[in-house]
Subunit: 468 residues, 2 copies
């Protein structure tokens, strides 16, 4: 059979799946719109997983169908496009180009290669260390991804791994991008202040009698997070290996290149100061009550006024537009799946089906289901707001120690991010980098998430029970 006809069969199977669910009887007690939207959403995800359609095309089709079937009214359907954090990703994409183009990314990459560059694995750890160290000051993992992404991109490019060919990507760029994405799942769970949803979770836990502080969070997180920190790059190194592994000459070459670069150019100065201000601004935006997206727009304005990033550069950034469109659409579909009551309906069902089981079984089941259900979510915070309370309540009522149940759900809120490209806004820059196919992300994301699940369930559970 020709490649083309396989493609059309795949597309047809997506439409059949969608139609079968759509026209099945609506489960009792569920809003019909919720059921129809579920049919559209799940077939979109299916289309992407089986590679029937690229994520952008699948998303646009889903949006169209949702509007034509009156599952969503247009004004709701387009609401994702004006979400601040989605615009933040779009602008961070363009700022990242400025980092690379100005030469500052290259310089920073050479510095990192000079220090950690004997091996690709060494570089991956250096990315993770950077991430974990800046994380407590970054309550937005989206913004933090905006800081890490240009560094990883420059590291890849300056190690000779570009997006020009499959072979070149695989040298080390793909591996480093995947590690950075995995890193964010760990760094966000390490500190109470490393992700926007964490403090909300702590507040919700308090209402159910579970007290968590900045210090106790760090204590509970320390051992499982450290374990994940050490193991995850090693696992990806096996399952998604870079073709260039050892680069014993790289540090010397990088040092030489650094010398050749000479002092900072004007563009690098502008970029450096802008980037530093962005990091500061994003870090302190919570305290200073400044909108993070406006900070990003401001940074872009500075780069464009000073011509570090030009209109000519923008012309080639059509893929940023593509990423913006699919992420806004998937976010909206998932948001309305929740608003229409689909998520709480599922939560209620899970509660019923677990009655009468022993607490360790209930505990493991709840955490596993909580992680798997993230396939339906396009925002970690949305899942937490929708399901954290239900799951925590069910667990505590069944006899699971409150602190164990709460912390593990909070960790899961962070480490479940990688199940899909759209699983977290922090993934999106990496998913759009050109180094990773959506297939790669689904596969390696599943492996990383499963590994994290095991690490946190085994190491984390024992550690929390030991110190609590």
């Amino acid at each position: 059979m020709s490649k083309l006809s396989i493609q059309y069969i795949k597309i047809a199977s997506v439409f059949i799946l969608g139609a079968v669910i759509y026209f099945s009887p609506v489960p009792q007690g569920l809003d019909p719109r919720a059921w129809h939207l579920f049919a559209i959403f799940i077939s979109t995800i299916f289309a992407v997983i089986i590679n029937a359609l690229p994520i952008l095309v699948a998303s646009i089709s889903a949006l169209t169908i949702a509007i034509f079937t009156k599952t969503l009214v247009p004004i709701d359907a387009y609401s994702g496009f004006s979400q601040g954090f989605i615009l933040l990703i779009l602008i961070a994409f363009l700022v990242a180009k400025g980092v690379v183009k100005s030469g500052l990314g290259t310089r920073f990459a050479y510095l990192m290669i000079k220090t950690f560059g004997k091996s690709t694995l060494g570089l991956s750890y250096s990315i993770m260390i950077t991430d974990c160290l800046i994380a407590p000051a970054f309550p937005s993992n989206t913004a933090r991804s905006g800081v890490l992404f240009p560094i990883v991109q420059s590291l890849a490019i300056d190690s000779g791994s570009t997006t020009d060919s499959e072979e070149s990507k695989k040298k080390m760029g793909s591996f480093l991008m995947m590690c950075a994405m995995a890193s964010l799942t760990i760094s966000s769970g390490l500190w109470l202040t490393a992700m926007a949803a964490n403090p909300s979770g702590v507040a919700m836990a308090k209402e159910l009698g579970v007290n968590i502080t900045f210090g106790s969070w760090l204590l509970y997180a320390s051992v499982p997070s450290l374990t994940a920190f050490i193991l995850i790059p090693l696992i990806l190194y096996k399952t998604f290996p870079p073709t260039v592994k050892n680069t014993p000459q790289a540090p010397v070459a990088a040092a030489k290149k650094l010398k050749e670069m000479g002092p900072l150019s004007k563009d690098e100065w502008v970029m450096g100061i802008t980037f530093f201000m962005l990091v500061l601004g994003w870090g302190f935006s919570g305290i200073l009550h400044i909108d993070k997206t406006a900070i990003a727009f401001c940074g872009l304005a500075v780069l464009m006024i000073s011509k570090v990033f030009t209109l000519e550069d923008l012309k080639h950034e059509g893929s940023a537009l593509g990423t913006f469109i699919w992420f806004a659409i998937l976010y909206t579909l998932s948001t309305y799946l929740n608003r229409y009551g689909f998520m709480s309906y599922i939560g209620e069902h899970i509660r019923h089906s677990l009655i009468g089981l022993s607490w360790p079984v209930i505990y493991v089941s709840l955490i596993t289901i909580y992680v798997l259900i993230h396939y339906l979510f396009v925002s970690q915070t949305a899942q937490m707001l929708a399901l954290f309370g239900v799951f925590l309540g069910v667990g505590i009522n069944a006899g699971v120690p409150g602190i164990l149940m709460a912390m593990m759900l909070l960790f899961a809120t962070n480490f479940n991010a990688m199940v899909t490209p759209q699983g977290s806004s922090a993934n999106v820059l990496f998913a759009g980098s050109g180094y990773l196919s959506t297939g790669d992300i689904y596969k390696q994301g599943a492996i990383v998430t499963l590994s994290n699940l095991l690490i946190y369930l085994v190491v984390g559970s024992f550690w929390i029970l030991l110190v609590s």
Copy 2:
């Protein structure tokens, strides 16, 4: 003085203008936010007019300042990005690329050249005829611009006028783009159903005792519109001449090229059917209650599934992203200028200052002010909703014949579109085409608008008084 330092002086002067207005005492009775937003908005327009900053950079800077000064809260400031008609422009941009890329645009262009192509002026009239003929079925001039744009773009490209150099643009592409934009100002005023705001205006006029029907509208519009239709291309031909004027061999060459093209390719078929469905869908969207933007998304999905427009093509469409960003921002700023009460405040002042003058003076003043004030508006509909009632009321009370005042304000709502690139969503595709600088649009737009103003005031007023 160097070019660079002149640029920085220009930018500084923009900031000084903005700051002076911003920190001036707020006029009595005006919301301080309205005054501050006015300061930001007017300096943005000023920055673009004096060429201190490109329209995108000026817009991003304005957005940032509006948020940082708390003139706009972030959620309001980003609201333009999810406006359906703004997304429609974005998607129409991408669909237009499909028309060009598939080869269908080329074929259509050759057909037009074969028939009208002996002179560039002939081509400009053929664009206008097409526009005026399809206009009554297109209550959205935005959607109509989405139909005209790819045709004009193909006409330009296939006549050898590309955006590669200034010289090549000027051959005929720039002229034809400008004519198409001017055409929309005329076609929209010719029919009651040719622009979304027209029927609302008719309804509002009725409340003040002025009755307008589809037929009477056409009668009143016929003579001034025909005059404008004939004169405007001739005027642009003088003020903004194409460098290639006579192309006596073009029809023969086009006929030959058409023969060489042979029968329609698969891509052309897909594109042709999609485009035809888009035209039908947009035309009947009002009757069928289908969202125009969803129709556009659907068309794009079809083009992407059938690979007429690919992800690879999208990569080079960064300028569509730029256009989307600036238009969404300027639209939002203008919308809130109105919501904060700035426009009604101005309307009230105008009313006061005209008391006691004779009706012809009041009539001409009101129409002229109504046109000039469009420099502050980014939506024709918004201006009509904000000011049509006030202006019409003032005119009628001062003794201006109701039908004259109403029709002329409605014509002005349409022909004032070209004062700025953002003056109408129908301009935006042409403004982003690469053939026109914002400077060109400000200058030629002023000439076209002034010409239209004179034509409609002189020819239109006498005609309406004659037949009413």
